[in-house]
Assembly symmetry: C2
Homo-oligomer: 467 residues x 2
Amino acid sequence: MPNSDPASPPKPLTIEDILEVFEEGSDEAIAEICRIAHPGDIETAFERLDDEERGTVLKALPADLLSDLSDYLPSADFEKRVRTLPEEEKREVLDAMSDDELVDLLQEVPEKERPEYLELLPEEKQALSEDLLQFDEDSAGGRMTTAFAKVNEHLTVREALAQLEAQREEPEMLSRIYVVDDGGRLLGKIRLRDLAFNPRKSFISEIMDRDRTAILATAEQEAAADMIARYDLMALPVTDDQGRLLGIVTHDDALDIIQEEVTEDIERASGIGGERDMAYIQTPVTIHLRRRFGWVLAMALLGMISGYVLHTFESVFKAHYVLALYLPMVVAAGGNTGAQAATMVIRALSLGELTPSEFFHVVWKEMRVGLMLGGLLGLCIALQIRFLLPAVFSEGATGSLLQIASVVGLALTAQVATSTSIGAILPLGARAIRLDPAVVASPAITTLVDVTGLIIYFSLARVLLPG
Amino acid sequence: MPNSDPASPPKPLTIEDILEVFEEGSDEAIAEICRIAHPGDIETAFERLDDEERGTVLKALPADLLSDLSDYLPSADFEKRVRTLPEEEKREVLDAMSDDELVDLLQEVPEKERPEYLELLPEEKQALSEDLLQFDEDSAGGRMTTAFAKVNEHLTVREALAQLEAQREEPEMLSRIYVVDDGGRLLGKIRLRDLAFNPRKSFISEIMDRDRTAILATAEQEAAADMIARYDLMALPVTDDQGRLLGIVTHDDALDIIQEEVTEDIERASGIGGERDMAYIQTPVTIHLRRRFGWVLAMALLGMISGYVLHTFESVFKAHYVLALYLPMVVAAGGNTGAQAATMVIRALSLGELTPSEFFHVVWKEMRVGLMLGGLLGLCIALQIRFLLPAVFSEGATGSLLQIASVVGLALTAQVATSTSIGAILPLGARAIRLDPAVVASPAITTLVDVTGLIIYFSLARVLLPG
């Protein structure tokens, strides 16, 4: 929490200031800066440290600071540090953690050691944690917090206020007050100010907002983030399949989820596999290797098809070696434009602007864009060949300049149109069979259109060039 | 706003339901569904329509519905519709709009017509809009809203509550109450509940939270979104250079900004230029063409370097045409791994995990990853050649299988290590000279490493193969 002592507003420390202390400061200096800096800045600085440095920083923090920072530090590191605390301090830190962070930490603990940790908690928190541990980490239930207030619809405003008064020390709680029926099912919500400005005798059921927008605990966390974004919510209630209110996902979680999700999409689109568990710098070389090798090997094997095609056209190529001058260009133009098309379609799908039902609409659009893009490019390059190439050409290639210009120009047109269509079709097809469209990584498209490019280029050459 | 009539909770209409009515319904049906569906869902459905359909939907909406939906519909379309309204209704719609949406709309109006629009507004709103119009659309000032409450530090709780009571009809306002001094400078904030639960005689200055986290109006909107994400804020105050409070950027704006920003980054990384003003389907083919052609042409011209290199190695290639089998693979492996490295570095930079000061650390890491990745790949492929290739090889190529395997294996290693290094160096270099690292699009890296790949492959062949 930001420092709220009236005498000292939070100092505008930069990330670099904090980083300097983390890297070179004494234990006391580290603890001191963690006391005064904003936890959000500490988090950012912490992400830039390597393994060893993070260990040093965490060791320098006393239990009370650990409690304050528990919402901001990665749970794997945090768990390692908590493990080393004497029992009393361990209890203190665990008890001070918010329920969702606590569950994240417990998920880092090997299953058979969890009871030891759970026993340190007060009974109520123990039961709550056990409940929350049932949800998958990436589900709405795994992401939710139980820090919200709820009131029964049959209470009067006076009774509700009396009940809520007890929670006023927990500042987060009162921003979201939900209304439930006797069975705990979500009926709607109400704001503190509606309570404050209404007659004390009114019943909650008369003045509540009956907005029951909610998400199932088993739904994916991305679905929760999307709803929060679409409906501009501060928090989204999470229910079980009976409609019972279990918790809420908050707007700041939505931001984190969207950031994680986007990073995953971007990485997957470049053929980087697996989960991103750590910041870039913190990820060891071996994990980088493991995340990237799969696609690279797969693409290399696919690339053998292109090799085979190129090998097959030996006679055409050797007879017209001037084709070499434009071979990389024709092949690469397909890769570039195919990847562009795929990027646009994948992004539109993930923003919810497109559905696979618009398949033909999209493919038709990309074919037209591709034809124009390729035609324009082909024309530019054909003109370049016709008028600017005499020097190279005179070295004794076969076929007239005009013939070479036609081959290259037509090849570019056909290759780009093919590539944009493939770039649109693959992600839409993936989504249609319920795969994440981002699995159609750019490398896959590039490798595929390498093959079409070679076939188009040499086939045209075979037809249009003499001999 | 969600329907808050106690009798009818918002119906769970799907986007598809709404879309069906938009595409096929009568004007009455369209108006009816816009009355009952959540505006967030209407927005999503609306984004999937083409130009003509959007016109039809907007024409079907009466002025009161237009007012309700003004926060959710694209300002360009909205402006076109408002333009056709009779003066009285135009006044009504404009007056009902929130200040930030109104300014977005005014920005769509040609400058010389703006006074006409402004004159329709009540005086206060007119002045406010004129003030807000001064800020760049993409700055914190251009994004902020003035819908917040402020109180002077010298007021008592009683006086503050009386002042705020007047604003209770504007539900958004009271979630953010800021404290200012006599000069309007931001001093901190206070919550409604702190007012409610404190003695009426206390002074605001005694009970306020002196958190002065704020952003300059001239700062970029992304910086505002980053602060909201980092500090988990509900709203971020925006000030002028004197510290005077001008407005706030809210958490739902932060989500929108991050989504826009990410889309821009992703598109730029694939060599798609310009601003993304419209959803994918709505963007006409000619604009798609304009956004993509620049990079495609530039890359085609750069691709001529590769063509020149390939042309130069004519004698080596013709003498050992078996090299064709692995040429596309060697070249593409560089493109794929280079783009992977760039993606990871660009993403880490944009998440704030990396700074250019870590240049050598990152390049050293990518070089090692590249060496291992390339070495492993080279080994796999060399083994494949040595043991699985006799069929093709026996067709009379020169050089032993072992020699070919060495050329391909070593070329893959060198090419991948070079490419990951280039993929890391370019975005870090771009950031170091204060460019957006995303300008180093994957196509640029792919095209560059095409050149290195060809040089490495044929140079090794020249050295290691006989003749």
